[in-house]
């Protein structure tokens, strides 16, 4: 379905609002292909068509929501009835409500690439087969590939509300990923790499092959390090992982409910003066870019931390009303879910630390991180406590040394921000939608064997 067709469907439902009732309808439709290759042959090929609809109703300050995975007319009507019924049981909340148009003009960002349609299934399979073959041929210690995958999608999203909001967009995406297995006779290690773009032509196969192989090989022979305090060197990918955990605490939902250690600290220094970051969803070069947020308001730039000082948070319309700051156009959602505030396209400003090699050269005792494990179980966004499994290579006197594993790094989110010691000048746009340079974070507890 085209964005216009979806918008018509959504509008028709939103227009059913009774006096005193607010209705917001989000719907999506898309097609996707995913391919898994193993040992040169297609292991599985999935052709999928996905639809979704979410209906939010607010009546007398009570909110109800219902969603379905189909746009069949009978189910769509049933969802409106369900949402209305659910609203009867919710608590009266004076701030409950859908977004109100705020006059901010949406930027014109084209997230659709016709080129995706030029690729046949055979072309797509060939890409996954090619990266698998190249990884296997790269080194005799590469003994296998667990998965080599290709996936793409093309979809439309539309949102209409009884407040007069009408938003529609369409986008394409493509991605590849591979996990290499390396074995030196004593130990097995894996290296994962992937890339994403708006169409297959934007994927960097060379870089993905090289990174998967290098990571798996570089970890061979890894040992448990001795417990001590070190500096961490994070390349842009790992910096993105860490910074997105931090950015996850800077949203209005956490602020109004007292679930972030940074609530009430706007204007205070919460980070190293070297650090500046913001949400830049209107940067067309970011894969996190979007014209509209999940409530149909225009996306916009939102400063978060400037030179170490907390500037603000991201808000959607509900949390913005309660927090008194209004929406920053930062609602995130799938059609089938409720909106909540979040950072769309985290952007960390480049520093003056040079490239990754320069940053490594400046570290006396540290770890160049290859992977962080346990993000969902090792970070408490309320207390800020952080403890993550780590794999990587030691850095001694500015030189890369032995690989390490079976260890953790521990700190708190509050301390990590203040402990940023260097910011690289190697900022890149990542397929996660995050744009960041490499970072060096000092004073982190590396936990492993007894010293």
């Amino acid at each position: 379905m085209t964005p216009d067709e979806l918008l018509m469907l959504a509008s028709r439902l939103a227009e059913k609002a009774a006096p005193g009732e607010q209705i917001e309808v989000a719907c999506s439709h898309g097609e996707s292909t995913s391919i898994r290759v193993y040992e040169g042959a297609v292991e599985s090929l999935t052709q999928a068509e996905n639809s979704g609809i979410g209906v939010r109703v607010i009546r007398d300050g009570r909110e109800g929501f219902a969603s379905a995975g189909t746009l069949d007319p009978d189910v769509v009507d049933q969802m409106l009835a369900q949402a209305r019924d659910n609203a009867r049981f919710a608590e009266v909340d004076p701030d409950a409500g859908i977004a109100e148009p705020d006059g901010v003009e949406a930027v014109d960002i084209d997230l659709w690439r016709d080129e995706l349609a030029d690729y046949s299934i055979e072309d797509k399979v060939a890409m996954a087969v090619e990266i698998e073959a190249r990884v296997l041929a790269a080194d005799s210690r590469i003994v296998g590939v667990r998965t080599s995958t290709y996936g793409d999608g093309a979809g439309s999203f539309a949102l209409a509300s009884s407040n007069g909001i009408r938003a529609a967009s369409r986008s394409t995406s493509a991605g590849i990923g591979i996990q290499a297995l390396a074995d030196d006779g004593n130990q097995m290690q894996t290296g994962y790499a992937g890339d994403g773009a708006r169409e297959p032509g934007g994927l960097d196969l060379d870089e993905v092959v090289d990174r998967a192989v290098r990571q798996a090989l570089d970890l061979l022979g890894s040992r448990k390090p001795t417990t001590r305090t070190v500096s961490l060197v994070l390349d842009p990918r790992l910096a993105a992982t860490m910074m997105s955990v931090i950015a996850g605490t800077l949203n209005g939902g956490r602020v109004i409910k007292g679930r972030t250690p940074f609530a009430g600290r706007v204007g205070e220094t919460i980070a190293s003066p070297l650090l500046t970051f913001s949400d830049e969803p209107i940067d067309p070069d970011s894969l996190g870019a979007d014209a509209y947020d999940g409530e149909g308001l225009a996306c916009r730039s939102v400063p978060l931390v400037t030179d170490g000082v907390l500037r603000g948070f991201v808000w959607d319309s509900y949390t913005g009303r309660r927090g008194g700051s209004g929406s920053t156009g930062s609602a995130q959602r799938a059609a089938r879910g409720l909106p909540s505030p979040g950072v769309h396209a985290l952007s960390v400003a480049a520093g003056e630390g040079g490239g990754l090699d320069d940053l490594i050269a400046g570290v006396e005792d540290g770890v160049l991180v290859f992977s962080l494990a346990g993000l969902h179980s090792g970070v408490n966004a309320v207390s800020g406590d952080l403890s993550l499994g780590v794999e990587g290579r030691m850095i001694r006197n500015g030189q890369l040394a032995e690989p390490i594993g079976e260890a953790t790094v521990g700190s708190t989110l509050q301390r990590l921000l203040l402990d940023v010691e260097a910011v690289g000048s190697d900022r890149i746009h990542l397929s996660s939608g995050i744009s960041t340079p490499s970072l060096v974070i000092g004073d982190v507890m590396l936990s492993g064997a007894a010293a």
Binding site: V42, S44, L45, T46, Q47, A48, E49, N50, S51, E63, G64, F65, A66, S67, G69, T70, V75, Q82, A83, R88, F89, A90, E91, I121, E122, V125, V143, T147, L181, M188, Q189, T190, L219, K224, T227, K257, G258, R259, A373, G374, H376, S377, G378, N380, V382, S383, D385, S387, G389, G405, E406, A407, T408, G410, S411, M445, L446, S447, G448, A450
Partner: protein, 478 residues
């Protein structure tokens, strides 16, 4: 045959008659594929979410559709549709067949005739659909009141109730036709306590394969009190130590240790690709002889229970490690077919939009002989982990992490100071060998969602008290 029609017709809103299934499967096999399967699903979910003292929302969702899988010369073609008309199913069947055929030699098809195999869905005493929404709202409100009344330090509470009913139908070209009707209900309370040194969190969560009788089995007041107590006690916690220590894991939630340390590594898809440290070790001693590990999809009422798996195979009790010796892996249909052996009933998928793969169900360490008090008393200096959160494993290296959400120091054989959160890290094969005591106090832990290759499925796990002689604790204190 008539029974089959009745059975399939019981999937409300996703009625697919037996003759239709036969025609769809026959269409899927038309190009000479060796196997075809229709998986139809109708899933409903209702939730009530309270946060910050208010009922934030009641949400309902509905998903129904069918996924069609075709296997030709080892290649799996898959297509799914939310439209259950015969025309749409046949279209999906052709798309799946086309996808599978691309890298396979063409052959000729054959007609399929399916026959019903009965299944016995888990009983539901109080179907959640029959319980009015006001009652569910009342339960989460009560949790909020009780938690807030527990201590003035409690500054935030969220309480969530959810029920899901998932009706599935599986028909395949081997002639199988079966159904299941799975109802799961869960309740959780999360609290934030604020003290001089910042905020701490405490959570309690229960979930079972059953209906609203869940809240007859558990007291909302007790759940709320225990979540609040956990948050408040952590206000006094000191940073967890770093480095290697003797670790005693309490009964229940410690099951995640085995889920991560070896459960994933015993999944036949990973084993076959050489991506598991347990590949090629059948019959070998892989763990301390105190370890008997079982995966059991039949455990009545447990979170990972079902009558048939998502490939239509009956749930089963599978012993994986017996007295330290690796006895078997976990199997789904496709891997079992390749090895010429039966599936172990572990083929599961998140929804009709996903391909099945090898998954755990309820995974647990069988109880031992030792009094838990003696296990703790035997530790001069160590850490007692009362409650574990989630975890993650690299099955290739065997390294895994999991979060401790409630832990204490053990000093001179006694549990003393509470510790702040941190992760434990270990190497699965090594940790299994270092288990030197297993208690007689077996319990199942809270409900979990296991993620693998982007698909989440409900799983249970459990352990008695156990002791690991040495594990690395990822704290921040020296």
């Amino acid at each position: 045959m008539i029974e089959g029609r009745l059975l399939s017709a019981t999937i409300v809103g996703c009625v697919i008659d037996e003759p239709v299934l036969n025609r769809v499967l026959t269409a899927a096999l038309a190009d000479g594929a060796e196997f075809a399967e229709v998986f139809a699903e109708d899933a409903e979910r209702n939730s009530v979410n309270l946060d910050d003292g208010r009922i934030e929302n009641l949400a309902s969702s509905r998903d129904r559709g069918a996924g069609i899988r075709v296997i030709a010369h080892g290649t799996v073609g898959f297509a799914h549709t939310a439209d259950l008309s015969e025309a749409s199913l046949v279209r999906a069947a052709r798309a799946a067949a086309e996808a599978a055929r691309r890298h396979a030699a063409p052959g000729s098809g054959h007609a399929v005739e399916i026959a019903t195999q009965s299944s016995s869905p888990a009983p539901v005493e109080k179907p959640p659909a029959d319980v009015d929404k006001a009652t569910k709202v009342g339960a989460v409100r009560r949790a909020d009141q009780v938690a807030r009344a527990y201590d003035r330090a409690i500054t935030q509470v969220s309480a969530n109730y959810a029920d899901t009913r998932r009706r599935i139908l599986v028909a395949n070209s081997d002639g199988l036709l079966t159904t299941d009707d799975q109802t799961r209900t869960q309740f959780s309370v999360s609290c934030v306590a604020t003290g001089d040194a910042g905020m701490q969190t405490g959570r309690e969560s229960v979930g079972h394969t059953m209906g609203y009788e869940l809240l007859d089995r558990y007291s909302v007041d007790e759940l709320a009190t225990s979540a609040a107590a956990r948050a408040v006690s952590k206000l006094e916690a000191r940073p967890a130590p770093s480095g290697t220590h003797t670790v005693v894991i309490g009964p229940g939630s410690g099951g995640v240790l085995f889920h991560e340390a070896c459960g994933h590594g015993l999944e036949a898809d990973l084993v076959r690709k050489g991506a598991s440290t347990f590949a090629g070790k059948l019959g070998q001693k892989v763990a301390s002889e105190l370890v008997t590990l079982i995966d059991d999809g039949t455990m009545a009422g447990e979170w990972g229970q079902f009558a048939v798996d998502d490939e239509g195979q009956p749930a089963a009790r599978n012993v994986l490690i017996e007295n330290g010796v690796l006895v078997d892996y976990l199997w789904d249909g496709i891997r079992a077919r390749q090895e010429g052996r039966p599936s172990s009933g572990n083929g599961r998928r998140q929804s009709y939009k996903h391909l099945p793969m090898v998954r755990m169900t309820n995974t647990y360490l069988a109880g031992g002989q030792t009094d838990p008090a003696d296990i703790i008393a035997g530790v001069a200096n160590g850490v007692y982990v009362a409650r574990l959160g989630g975890g993650q494993v690299n099955t290739t290296s065997g390294d895994f992490v999991f979060g401790m959400t409630e832990a204490y120091l053990i000093e001179d054989g006694k549990i003393t100071t509470p510790l702040r959160e941190g992760q434990l890290i270990g190497n699965g094969p090594k940790v299994l060998q270092m288990i030197d005591a297993v208690g007689n106090d077996f319990e199942m832990g809270p409900p979990g969602t296991c993620g693998k290759d982007g698909q989440g499925v409900p799983v249970g796990d459990g352990v008695p008290t156990l002791r690991v002689t040495e594990m690395t604790i990822g704290g921040t204190a020296a």
